[in-house]
Symmetry: C2
Subunit: 193 residues, 2 copies
Amino acid sequence: MVQKPLREQTRSVVRSLLARTAIELFSAKGYDNTTLEEVAVAAGVSRRTLFNYFRNKEDLALGSLAEQGELIAARLAERPAGEDAWTALRAAFQVLEEIDMTAEGRLEFITLLFGNNSLRAGHAEKQARWQDLFAPLIEPRLPDSGRRALQARAIAAAAIICLQTANEEWVRLGGRADLFDLYDTAVQAVRHA
Amino acid sequence: MVQKPLREQTRSVVRSLLARTAIELFSAKGYDNTTLEEVAVAAGVSRRTLFNYFRNKEDLALGSLAEQGELIAARLAERPAGEDAWTALRAAFQVLEEIDMTAEGRLEFITLLFGNNSLRAGHAEKQARWQDLFAPLIEPRLPDSGRRALQARAIAAAAIICLQTANEEWVRLGGRADLFDLYDTAVQAVRHA
DNA sequence: GCACGGATTTGCACTGAGTGCAACAGAGTG
DNA sequence: CACTCTGTTGCACTCAGTGCAAATCCGTGC
């Protein structure tokens, strides 16, 4: 009866080990030049087992994005009900700064993301899924009107894209800037230019 | 010496024939359940030749998006210099309405896009590339300031994402709505909510 | 009409991602 | 010591994508 939490625990440990091993190899040799066979060997596991943990090669690299989305959504749900949508989103995004990851690690990871076409695509898509998580949470923050659902989706998408643009710029600057300064600049431009 | 234009002409004819054949099959049988072998046979060409025209399976489905991006960019470049960035973008997007495609065709195509994960990803990525086309064209429309490049990218990205959100909603409504009404609602929400 | 030359098409063989299946190993239970 | 449940592994297969070389097509010059 105590097995279940135990199994799940080992599972998530193995999962993150595999992801870390993979990202290390991808960064070192390039995404396309790294086979899943190599990742499996490096992690001391069979190629087939990799597929028990991740649906595909892309997920192996991007798994953490889905988790980040859930973290942000959770934080967003905790924000006071009266708070303005943009304010709530900005506050929720800041959960990213609490994530256990060195600046070099972030830089390496994001560089990997933007350096490969199919990863860029996967990245874009994963963040588009964030929209589905965030929109229902910001819809109640909008004034009544028809099309409130559409409005909520648009705001969520725009905020995410501002974060992404800021992230890109942050990488371009080699990490020598404050991410949220860049984010604020982006939002300001979009809303008041 | 007259070969070149001629060859290019046939090339683009063949290219669009292949794309149309592919999209038809993808819509009918599903993207994942359609092999490139089948597409090739249906178009009366060898599988290998398909790869002379398209880099990969995804491009076969999404090729038109790249062209659309270039059309919009061209229109954007023609807008008067003093025009506000958002106004210019909206006007440029309207080139989409001039594209030779039936409403059912559009609906079918967009439904295909949103119905498959990897196509959604490719779609998101292709539109993210639009950003690279549009940003330089709207940067001169912004007031002087540091970070104008970042601002231009943010605005381009936000406008694109509004269009995409409107498109999604349009599909959800079965095409029974005006795309630009939806777009305006989205932009309004983002900028003034 | 005919041979030449460049480009396009095609077949072939190969790599690697992803999947279904069945055999296997290990841990907990009676 | 069987028995079962779960996770791992190997194996064989399909399909996307690529490099290469043979075959084919087509406009041009003779």
